[in-house]
Every structure is written in structure tokens, then in C-alpha cells.
Amino acid sequence: MTVAIGGSPVIRVRGLTKRYGDVQAVAGVDFDVAGGEIFGLLGPNGAGKTTTVEILEGLRPADGGEVSVLGVDVTRDADALKPRIGISLQTAALYPKLTVTEVIDLFRSFYATSRPTAELIADLDLGERKNAQTKVLSGGQRQRLAVALALVNDPELVFLDEPTTGLDPAARRSLWDLVLGLKAAGRTVLLTTHYMEEAEVLCDRLAIMDHGKILEMGTVDELVMKRFHERAVRFDRLPELTTAELEALPAVASVKADGGEMLLYTSDVGPTIGALLALTERRGLEPQNLAIRRATLEDVFLDLTGRALRD
């Protein structure tokens, strides 16, 4: 899915850099986010996602580059931005001795206009805990409250730094619905994540980051197709078959042995499978768990960073 970028983008980043001592946390980053888009930053630990996001939020100064958010030059006038954006930090920062309702009400008092507390509590499914002090909330509940606080002012642009880390699968899915709901309401969302599935479900476009750089950017399909035109034929590894034998099969572009799994990347699935089955039959072998799948973001990520996405 490609999002047409009409008019000026909601976020425009050019040549962004930030250094901490010896660590080049952000090393020249360029990207645009269009209005109404969900844009994802995907990357391993220490990639520079949080640093980038917090510079856009006006919470950290950049060393160099241009950052314009909602038409505001963040380096000059972050204050003009604050009423219009909503943020949740990677680690939820909450007054420990206030209740969920009290914290939301407090944050509402900071904004000229705000959404009703009851609505936010219902949206983030915090009803059962609304009178609990935040210090006794579970990790996932804290995370949800942090997201509720990001939405207090009904912002045009929402920054969510790893919003679903620590959530159980049901809570994660309900948060995804919430984010998709924001998009449906015409809001723009910039989020960071470690979860490939999350990026696939939510992000219109995403950037894969590592070592402070964007390695690749586009829609999920674009990213996958750019690297892997092929489909992958996988089966449980058969030690009797050599890589050379497999590479000789028709239409096979490359062969990867990944743990107990064999992967044949092929540009034409039919002939490859036919030949594979003929080969195994001849050798008196039977491929187990044979499957055809599209290359995924996980494959892209592995290929780009040499690391698995999940920690």
C-alpha cells in the first residue's frame, strides 16, 4: 500500500544527527511522514529510535539537521508544538501515588481542550483500575495509561515509543485497534516497535533503523519485494541433501540453512517444488513440513541487520 504524499508532510526530517560521547546515536536520518499515515520505526536495541522520536517531540536537542513537525521548526519553537501532539515515552512516567483517574485529570488540566476522562479510560480498558494508584498497576496497565495520556488532548499527531512492549496478546490487539481508530479519525501516528507483526498490521510505511541510520524505508510489501522477489520454499532440513544440489534446482536463487530449516528462495515455485520432490523421491527421502511462503519482514530484517528482530 502506498500513501500519496500530498501537500507538505506532517513530519519532515533531513540530515538529523545526535551524538552521545562516543556513540553516534543518530547518524544522518531523512524521512517524511504524511498526514493521516501510521509510520513505524523498526530496529534492534540501541538503533536510535527513541533518540530520533524524542528529538521530534522537542524533548532532546539535535546536533544537526532539520526537523519540522506540523510545520513547526522543533529546534526553535517546540512550545508551539506541545498542545498539538501526544506522546508516550518508552518507559511510562507516572505519579506513583495518584490514581488512574487523577493522573488523567491532571494531564487534562494542561491542555485547553481535552477528551473526557471516562472515554479515555474506556478506550484503554482501564475501567477496573480507575481508582488504583499507578504504583500498583501491572506493566501492561501502566503502558495503557501512558497511551491514554498521549491521547488526552485529542492530538493531531501521536508519538508512541514501543506502545505494546509488555502487553499481553489481547491487550496488544486492542491497542492496535485503537491506533487504527486514530488513523481512521485522520490522525497521524509515529510509532517505534520491535514486533514485526505489529509493523505489518499497523504501519502504512516504515523505516528499518540500525546504528543510527535508516537502512530501508517503504511499505511492508515494498521492503519485502525490494530484497526478495522470490518466494521461500521451506522444509525440515535433510542432511543428505547438499546445498550445491539444492542450488542446482530450477528457478532457485539462493539457499539458506537456518537451524533445522532449509529455505529455497525461488522465482518460480512450481518447477522448484516439482524438481525438489523428484530429487527426494530418487534418494528415498521425504521432505517434512513442506511449505511455501512469501518472504517476510523478518527475512528483510535478518538480511539487513544480520540480527533477528526480537531480542
Partner: protein
């Protein structure tokens, strides 16, 4: 709702829900007051030692002398006036009674019905020793009642005078000192929750909202001033109710110094918050500031009896001036420094510390 008010309320809720902190800020000075109050309360009950200055030396004045001696077990020490005042300053006598020249004649004229005005005797007391002043007036009242028998206009009236003595009744000295101490704590301990909020990234989160920094600082100041005032009311009330401390000065002046002092120590607290990276560090730094202040401000040890170096320190630290000012305005204590100097020193600390904090404080 206004952000400043909402944040102040939130701060107060957080504070009140922290039972341990609440207990220590409110109970600590009270424990001290009760402890020292009961230890040093003894010593009353006996008769008064009165300085007796007789400028008249008439039979009538001798009669008055007898009347005083007869009453309870008062001891009268006959002294020249200057000597009597000096001894009262030093606490040797509790009060001084001066019989003026012409007292006898006035009484005679009065008894004959030809007096134009009643004779007066001067009664000098120390207003800060309210218990003693009360006893003296009881004695004087009893004696003059005897002298003024009959339905006629009184022959003799007391002419009250006061002088400040060096020895305040101990508890009267101690209560304002404790008030100063607790105001100091309310102020410098403001650093700790602030550093904790920074460590928890709460300040960073707030920085991403339209909340202004002055609102954040303002809410912290408001809340702390409120605590200081509540504490002041409790301490003064305990002093008055349980230990008979008499507030001789104006309540407004006491409140003004409580506020000024709290602001100066708050600013000092913000300096601590500017340099302490963690809550533990803030705790340590606060103690390092608190204990010398406590012991060098003249609360527990008189400043005059300290070694020169420590006297130098005592002359600089704000608590010396806050406690001194509170003693002066609450119980007419002897001045270590004039009130305007106390106010100026506190204001100086306030301005300097606030300036340092404004430059150095980090929000994340």
C-alpha cells in the same frame, strides 16, 4: 481546571498519601518540643525574686515592702534602680518594682481625700516570660488590693514597664527555634520529591505538555508554603496550649517570616535538586546541609559560646536569621541581628539560590 491549581492539588495528594513523609515533617518538631518542653519546664512554683527599688524611703513604702514580703514566699532584694535592671537582664531577679519618690506623700494626700491623682508604682516585667509576668501581676494586684481598700478611687496604681532579658523562658525560646527548623526542613526537603520525579521521568513527560516551567515550580512552591503554614500553626498552637508560650508580636510578622524563610530554603532545596543526580544523592546532600544548620543556628548551643570558626558559619547560614527573627517577632526574644538584617539575609539566600537553580536545574 487551571494547571497550576491542578498540579498543586496533585502534589498535595501525593504528599499526604506518603504517610512516612507526612509523619516526619509534622511530628518531628513536635517530638522535639514536647521532649525539651517537659525536661525544662520544672523550676516554677516557688516564690518570686523581686528587685525592690525604693526612691521614697517613707513609712508608706516600708509598709508596701512588708505587704509584698507577706504575700506567699516572695523574696525582695533591695537594690539601686540601675543595678536592679541589670540583675533582671541577667535573670537574677524575676521582676523589678520601683517605688517612686513622693509615694508616701501621695498616699497621705490620698487618704486625706485631697489627692489629684493616685500614686503609681512601676512594675517591670519581661513579656516573653509570660508565666512570671502573670505571677508578678497577681502579687502586685493582691498587694494593691489591700492598699486600695474602700470604695474610693484607687490610691495606688501599677505602672507597667517591660524590659527584654537575655534568658527567655526556655520553651519560649525553643518553640520559635523549632518553627524555624521545621520551616527549613519543609524547604530543603522539597528537593527530594523533585529529584524523584525527575528520576521517574515524570518531569520529562511534563516537559512534553504545554505546562509551563513556572507552573511546575509554582505548584511546588505553593504546596510547600502550605505545608510550612500548617506546620507553623501546629507548632505555635502546641507552644501556646501546652507550654503557655505567649505570642507577643504580630501573627502577620510571624507568617511573613515563615513564608520568607520557607522560600529561601525552598530555593536552597532547588539548588540541591540541581546538583543531585539521584534521590539518594539528594537525601545525602540534604542531610549534609541540614545538620550543621540545625546545630550552628543557635537553637541548641548559643552562638556566642561557639569557637570563632563556627561563629563565622553561624553568622552566614540562613537558619540563624530565620530562628532569630521568629524569636523576636513571636516572643520578643533578644535580637541576634535586627529584623531588617534577618529579612535581608533570607532574601539574599533566596535570590542567590534561585538564580543558581534557574541556571543549573535539569529536567531530565
Amino acid at each position: 481546571m487551571n494547571a497550576l491549581v491542578a498540579l498543586t492539588i496533585a502534589n498535595i495528594k501525593s504528599y499526604v498519601r506518603d504517610r512516612a513523609a507526612l509523619f516526619w515533617t509534622l511530628a518531628f518538631p513536635l517530638i522535639f518540643i514536647f521532649m525539651f518542653g517537659f525536661i525544662f519546664q520544672g523550676g516554677g512554683g516557688g516564690g518570686l525574686t523581686l528587685g525592690w527599688v525604693d526612691h521614697d524611703a517613707s513609712p508608706e513604702s516600708a509598709e508596701l515592702h512588708r505587704a509584698f514580703t507577706a504575700l506567699r514566699s516572695n523574696e525582695l532584694v533591695e537594690l539601686p534602680e540601675a543595678e536592679a535592671r541589670a540583675q533582671m537582664q541577667d535573670g537574677e531577679v524575676d521582676a523589678v518594682i520601683v517605688v517612686p519618690d513622693g509615694y508616701g506623700e501621695a498616699i497621705t494626700a490620698g487618704t486625706a481625700g485631697s489627692a489629684t491623682a493616685p500614686a503609681s508604682i512601676t512594675v517591670i516585667t519581661d513579656p516573653s516570660r509570660s508565666d512570671l509576668a502573670g505571677s508578678v501581676y497577681q502579687a502586685v494586684g493582691a498587694v494593691l488590693g489591700i492598699v486600695n481598700l474602700g470604695g474610693r478611687p484607687p490610691l495606688v496604681v501599677p505602672d507597667p514597664q517591660t524590659i527584654q532579658t537575655e534568658n527567655l523562658n526556655f520553651i519560649s525560646y525553643f518553640v520559635p527555634s523549632m518553627l524555624g527548623l521545621s520551616v527549613m526542613q519543609v524547604g530543603i526537603f522539597a528537593a527530594i520529591p523533585l529529584v524523584a520525579d525527575r528520576e521517574k521521568l515524570i518531569l520529562k513527560r511534563l516537559a512534553a505538555t504545554p505546562l509551563r516551567r513556572w507552573q511546575l515550580v509554582g505548584s511546588n512552591v505553593l504546596m510547600r508554603l502550605l505545608i510550612a503554614m500548617v506546620q507553623a500553626v501546629i507548632i505555635v498552637a502546641v507552644g501556646v496550649v501546652f507550654f503557655g508560650v505567649e505570642v507577643t508580636g504580630s501573627i502577620a510578622a510571624v507568617a511573613a517570616f515563615v513564608i520568607l524563610g520557607a522560600m529561601a530554603f525552598l530555593a536552597l532545596g532547588y539548588v540541591v535538586a540541581s546538583f543531585a543526580a539521584t534521590e539518594d544523592a539528594a537525601n545525602g546532600m540534604t542531610s549534609v546541609i541540614q545538620f550543621p544548620m540545625m546545630f550552628l543556628s543557635g537553637t541548641f548551643f548559643p552562638i556566642d559560646s561557639m569557637p570563632d570558626v563556627l561563629q563565622g558559619v553561624a553568622r552566614v547560614i540562613p537558619l540563624t536569621y530565620l530562628s532569630d527573627a521568629l524569636r523576636q517577632v513571636m516572643v520578643s526574644g533578644a535580637a541576634f541581628a535586627p529584623l531588617w538584617v534577618c529579612a535581608a539575609v533570607l532574601l539574599g539566600w533566596l535570590v542567590v539560590c534561585f538564580a543558581i537553580a534557574a541556571v543549573k536545574f535539569r529536567w531530565q
